[in-house]
């Protein structure tokens, strides 16, 4: 007998807001979090577009010895996780006395690596890198920091699955709870926003160069899209067995019904149609629901030509002609990469809880593939109880989550 897995808390630190209420309103009103960053132009970027995120000052919340090991994305993740735990009714006493796990998506930590290398080259003295550099530089920096700060005692693991990292973290967390290996897991995804982290990504011409209109640059599924816009921050959900949530009297927000995954086994950057379609089908099969029960599809669509086209084909293959609303919240946030799978679950949850679907802003004209999908460009009022969220990543890693309102 598998355990049911529910979501009992959420927290987010996003270009759309730092509280759930702020983010809900930004989604509803179609706000864009994208700006032009002149510093990137000076650094030789092809595109200076980015989401705007402020690094939080945590001097009041954390000691120096806690902060010194944290790169920016760990700080975002701390804020999101503190809020999520609070919302779930979890205090430090509970964390001290239970085996709470931690699975978080993160797939880079470039800024501290670059700074340490600069120091080594200039000073020829590794001591000058400081004590924080090694801990900030590792891919597992988010989970090592959060695990120590919150004194977590269950599984502690970073999920590095490119732009599907956050989604896989939630899916894998759900599997562990379903199988009785953990009762509660802090899951999420974090993404650094500094220029060093995505300079080489810019270098392969993946980013939109619509610099004269930053807020119109991210336009998933639109005929005139010209690339993605990088974003970031962090998002956390508290996954818990249904029994544990009931026992605690916790707020039960939703149930993770299905997790599907697949690998394209194909090109390193160009997605195909078969891989994502298999991930969608697996999630639907594991959820054990009729596809018509899905009232909203949160697409991965990042605003690239091939990626959006192939995802549109995959969604069409599974759902058919215009049968369900499909949007990409990346039209507002840019591509939050390692964070996206987790943040987009929260964006979708906020829509589901508040009876609306945020418009896919900047969707003005469909192309031949997106023309087969039902893509609202403006926010619509719609009550739905089940959504599907896609996340795909470099190397052809795919993750799909299906979540139902409770």
């Amino acid at each position: 007998m598998m355990n049911r897995v529910v979501i009992t808390g959420m927290g987010i630190y996003s270009c759309l807001g730092k509280t759930l209420d702020e983010v809900r309103d930004s989604l509803y009103y179609g706000k864009s979090g994208i700006i032009f960053d002149p510093e990137r132009k000076e650094m030789g970027f092809r595109s200076a577009l980015t989401a705007k995120i402020e690094v939080p000052d945590l001097r009041k919340e954390l000691s120096r010895s806690q902060r010194v090991y944290m790169p920016e994305q760990a700080k975002y993740a701390y804020c999101a996780t503190a809020d999520a735990l609070k919302a779930a009714g979890i205090d430090q006493d509970y964390l001290n006395t239970h085996e709470v796990g931690l699975l978080y998506g993160n797939d880079s930590s470039a800024d501290p690596v670059v700074r340490a290398v600069d120091t080594m080259r200039e000073k020829k003295d590794t001591t000058l890198c400081g004590s924080g550099a090694i801990f900030q530089s590792m891919n597992s920096t988010v989970t090592m920091n959060l695990g120590c700060i919150f004194k977590l005692k269950g599984i502690n693991l970073t999920v590095s699955g490119a732009c599907a990292s956050g989604s896989h973290a939630i899916g894998l967390g759900a599997l562990l709870i379903q199988n009785g290996l953990q009762e509660m897991i802090v899951c999420g995804g974090a993404q650094e926003v500094n220029p060093f982290s995505i300079g080489s990504f810019d270098g392969i011409s993946a980013f939109s160069i619509r610099e004269s209109e930053p807020q119109k640059a991210s336009r998933p599924f639109d005929r005139d899209r010209d690339g993605l816009v990088p974003g970031g921050g962090a998002a956390t959900v508290i996954l818990e067995s249904y029994e544990s949530a009931v026992r605690r009297g916790a707020p039960i927000l939703a149930e993770v019904l299905g997790y599907g995954f697949s690998s394209n086994g194909d090109h390193i950057s160009s997605p195909n149609v078969d891989g994502p379609a298999r991930s969608l089908k697996m999630a639907i099969r594991r959820a054990g629901i009729d596809i018509r029960e899905i009232g909203y599809v949160n697409a991965h669509a990042t605003s690239t030509h091939v990626g959006d086209a192939n995802e549109a084909k995959a969604i069409f293959n599974v759902f058919g002609e215009k049968s369900v609303e499909v949007t990409s919240t990346k039209s507002q946030t840019g591509h939050e990469m390692w964070m996206a799978g987790a943040s987009e679950v929260i964006y979708s949850m906020l829509m589901m809880k508040n009876g609306f679907i945020a418009g896919n802003i900047n969707f003005e004209n469909p192309d031949e593939d997106s023309a087969h999908l039902l893509i609202p460009s403006k926010t619509i009022e719609k009550k739905f109880d089940t959504f599907l969220s896609n996340s795909f990543g470099f190397g052809g890693t795919n993750s799909t989550l299906i979540i139902r309102n409770l």
Binding site: R59, R64, S65, V68, D125, T127, L128, G130, S131, G132
Partner: protein
């Protein structure tokens, strides 16, 4: 930079980095206790002192420098 200027710069930098008051730093005070250093943050103290003074502290000699007064003397001899 004379020794007094060095002391002032070192104290200011250490107080800011380790989030204590400059007045907490006295020549007789124990460095590790005052700055609440562990084996990792000791590295940050050494790196900061090196950056401010331009004097490299040999790894083998760090443990023998117990007080701020001893640190000032060590640096002043090598300026």
């Amino acid at each position: 930079m004379n020794k007094q200027e060095l002391i002032e710069k070192i104290n200011e930098a250490l107080a800011e980095e380790f989030e204590i008051e400059v007045s907490d730093i006295t020549p007789d005070a124990d460095i590790k206790q005052t700055l609440e250093l562990d084996s990792l943050s000791l590295v940050d103290m050494v790196a900061l002192v090196e950056s401010v003074s331009g004097v490299k502290i040999k790894g083998s000699e760090v443990s023998s420098i117990k007080t701020f007064g001893a640190l000032y003397d060590y640096l002043a001899e090598r300026l």
